[in-house]
Assembly symmetry: C2
Homo-oligomer: 562 residues x 2
């Protein structure tokens, strides 16, 4: 059997090595357009900033070592330019010599990946404007930084790569401005969770220009000018474009393979394309969102690796099926960690799902053990069935742990309230006897069981005028910052001061994190009140509002991010 | 409704607050023998070592604050001494005054916990010999350390508490010796994984005396002498006894409640005892092992908290059922973390389950990103059904994350090989595109699918004499330490040197971690050899053997713990 693989990074490299392990005698040719295979794609931003010091650390596998170990014919600087499906022939151009030649195949695997979107803007080909996809791109950017010593950079795009590169440019000492068309960074996150990320970016000296549309680029003497629609242009010594990626499927299209969503390659759950001799994997294929069962594009290394494995198995006669993806992801933002899995609120809404959600701010580990840090966690679930839909967590220590636990629970089909019953490992340096994930489950059980009714940060400004608004924190906490219109009755005095709360009107209750106000709600409900708890508490409300609302807004009380 | 709760820590305190939230109008009396309620039980070892500096940090809830917030009648220094089940009356002794009085109840919750085992040895009541259960115990030990300034301590018992206290005594500057009857520390772990923990203890200056039986204690002028059966006695300035705990069920026994395993209280899955008006929770009750479905005692804070919640729900008419426990646990040992969930190999064997297991040593995060550390991970599963049974992990960063993911997978009923398909969050600082848990799943899939056969560290010395033993590491690695009888053919030369391996005999293959030798096994199997891969590789073998075998053993080649 002769197998040609086009694309030698995540999906392609995984497929190649799995193929070899399954079939020692197959002829395997791995074609890669760049000069590197099986390199540390996700490490490229960290090479730019020097956190990964040496180029060698990015490219542990050389084409030669990869070839030697696996008996694979690795060919770098080779671009597949045509597929003759009828005769099963790939036409290949050696990019350094322009030599063109042909190879027959029995099976073909396409792993072309995705290219950074480069809109047809004026000046898009400017010097001093970079994109980041390959090792060569990273080398060029780092060389630019080392030789030209830029003092400032504009990062067009506030997604994963944008944020990772922005952090690394800061690390390299540059003044960094992120420009994004959306009104938030990190679109897999809801705007409220993204607000926490935005605050962290600003805290670390990164400027944010959101809802800002780039109209073009102009080279300047010292760098580049970024033109914006209806806004002043920005200048910097360099700019990077990371406004998204697009499946790199020109070859597949030319070959007449069936394409789908956004031009990505359509595959079945064995990763087979519309041609039974051709498989495709990675960022270039249409996959299934494991929660909605809808088609999706997910450009992540984890799914790409799994897909390469699945394609190889099926080619070699083993049974293996793609199961859809949750799009679980995590990103480091300086000392902060932000992670998500499954559906956000907006994704659930877009899918037409009747969802509910809880927000909490548990500590990463037992509060009495040094170093505990609070995180904000949002869990989204289907209201009636309690099907777990997704989660977002922003914090410091232990964020990645909790997102992986919830991703596992979603994958396994656990109900949202079953998070309360998970038997997680506890010792004071690692967690609490009730882990944050357990706490989310308990809150969901209380909400779905009718023990607690909620209201949310974005509803605070529109509460009924006649409603009673109650802040159950201590006097000192209240004095340090509160929401206008909320009256302070500390929880521990509530039972004695119930007569201060008028009957017949709903009561909206808040505290710092949502726990004391929950206890207050229980007291009120059992005394005949219709009480609602502020989800996430004042800490979430104030953190989100400080970022979402301009200064001198409806927040007169000197709110501070916790 | 009037509810009396006996025992005010984990289970009892959780039940009390949940009861109040569910029933604002119930009369709730919480009786606690010690002077503290709802305190940080699991933090006590860290208070001894001064990592938790202040007593206040252990006792965030005072009896008064707890009482105020929840409207609960909290009574400390009160010991329940009798239960008149017929008339539903508890007789209570106020320990500071010896006043005895009675309280009627409608429902009673027992949360007496477990006491440190104190065998009837000579000198068991010696001064300078401590146990650790209550805040008072911790205060006494810390005061002893601060005023008497002991230089040495003997820790009788190498379980969770023993190790946590030993680390903290080291932290306080003492010379510490752990004495244990077993041939390993930490019995929830298999001996091989425990060996890694033992090496860590020794590396941090703790002396280990295993298979050592304590015969008694004698006070000395400066401290205490620990007498041992058939061995020299040991002397130190102080000693601690932490050789296990026993359910504290004297009161339940006196009341005629049904007791079971090791004298613990028998409850149904609503936490109800044999008396329908009496519930019991926490360390004192018989629970179900969620994997074997067998009865078990598990003295952990997580299950105790869940049980308190369940008891309260059922008393208030909500439906809630205990689901058994995996006994998930984690312990910090200096900079190391050791964690387990579900069944160990020996527990699976004891339960009569036909199990298999894989051992791997993945990195905590992408190797090219600074700071990655390897961990040893063992996953145990039922051989035919691939039912996940348990896991043990010993390492540094990210151990707690992976054990929680696997605990969630077990709880949800995922098959062992489905770990490969989990959609976990990846970025270089947090994981690899194939997370360690994914890797375990892939290995299990390969083993169960017949792509790879394994042999284990404890079989190395008994391999058939005629078998070919192959070390596929580099020459440099081989020269730095190898197992006698294993011939070195580096993986990358294997295809060319196959003729050096005789046909007709099994081939036992090893490398450092098990990955290269797996690739070698695949090459060999497809060339007609019957090949076996050393599970966990040389790194696991050498780490275990160095600890398990005395010096000058069958390991002549200067093995070193990785």
């Amino acid at each position: 059997m002769k197998i040609i693989i086009i694309g030698g990074v995540a999906g392609g490299a995984t497929a190649a090595t799995r193929l070899r392990r399954l079939d020692e005698h197959a002829e395997i040719i791995l074609l890669e357009r760049s000069g590197y295979v099986s390199y540390a794609n996700c490490g490229l931003p960290y090479y730019i900033g020097g956190i990964i010091e040496n180029k060698q650390d990015l490219t542990l596998n050389t084409p030669e070592s990869f070839s030697t170990r696996f008996g694979i014919d690795v060919r770098v600087h080779q671009e597949a330019i045509d597929i003759d499906r009828e005769h099963k022939i790939v036409t290949i151009r050696e990019t350094e010599t322009d030599r063109v030649y042909r190879e027959k195949y029995d099976k073909l695997i396409l792993s072309p990946g995705a290219r950074p979107v480069q809109p047809p803007l004026p000046g898009i080909d400017s010097h001093n404007l970079f994109t980041l996809r390959t090792v060569e791109d990273a080398l060029a950017i780092r060389q630019f930084i080392e030789t030209r010593k830029p003092k400032s950079a504009i990062m067009a795009g506030g997604g994963f790569i944008g944020l990772e590169v922005a952090e690394n440019l800061r690390h390299a000492g540059l003044d960094v401005t992120i420009v994004d068309l959306a009104d938030q960074v990190m679109t897999p996150f809801d705007a409220d969770m993204a607000a926490l990320i935005q605050a962290q970016l600003k805290k670390n000296g990164i400027h944010l220009k959101l809802k800002s549309s780039i109209a073009g680029f102009e080279e300047t003497e010292t760098g580049i000018r970024v033109l914006r629609k209806d806004e002043a242009s920005l200048e910097a010594d360099m700019a990077l474009l990371a406004i998204g990626v697009r499946p790199d499927t020109k070859l597949a299209e030319k070959a007449g393979l069936q394409l789908g969503l956004k031009g990505a390659i359509v595959v079945d759950d064995t990763m087979k394309t519309s041609d039974p001799s051709i498989y495709a994997v990675g960022d270039a294929v249409v996959i299934r969102n494991a929660v909605t069962n809808q088609e999706a594009l997910i450009a992540l290394a984890g799914p790409a690796n799994k897909e390469g494995h699945i394609a190889a198995d099926n080619i070699c006669g083993l049974e293996a099926h793609a199961q859809g993806s949750l799009g679980s992801s995590v990103v480091k933002i300086f000392d902060m960690t932000a992670a998500s899995t499954g559906l956000s609120e907006k994704a659930a809404a877009a899918a037409g799902i009747d969802f509910d959600r809880v927000v909490l701010s548990p500590l990463s580990h037992a509060g009495y053990y040094p170093g505990a840090q609070s995180m904000f966690m949002k869990v989204v679930y289907e209201r009636q069935s309690l099907r777990l839909l997704g989660a977002q967590i922003v914090g410091y220590e232990g964020v990645d742990k909790r997102i992986d636990v919830i991703a596992t629970a979603i994958k396994a089909g656990l109900k949202a309230d079953a998070l309360a019953d998970l038997d997680l490992a506890y010792a004071p340096p690692y967690s609490s006897a009730k882990d944050p994930v357990n706490m989310a489950g308990y809150i969901i059980r209380n909400v779905s069981g009718g023990l607690m009714k909620q209201f949310h940060w974005n509803e605070v400004q529109d509460l009924p005028a006649a409603a009673f608004k109650l802040d159950t924190r201590t006097e000192a906490e209240y004095a340090a910052g509160h929401i206008d219109g909320f009256k302070n009755i500390p929880l521990d005095e509530l039972r004695e001061r119930l007569e201060e709360i008028p009957a017949g009107q709903p009561v909206y209750v808040m505290c710092q994190s949502g726990l004391r106000s929950y206890i207050a709600c229980r007291i009120l409900m059992q005394n005949g009140y219709d009480a609602y708890n502020l989800s996430g508490g004042y800490s979430f409300y104030s953190a989100v509002m400080q970022e979402r609302m301009p200064a001198s807004s409806a927040l007169p009380c000197g709110m501070e991010i916790k």
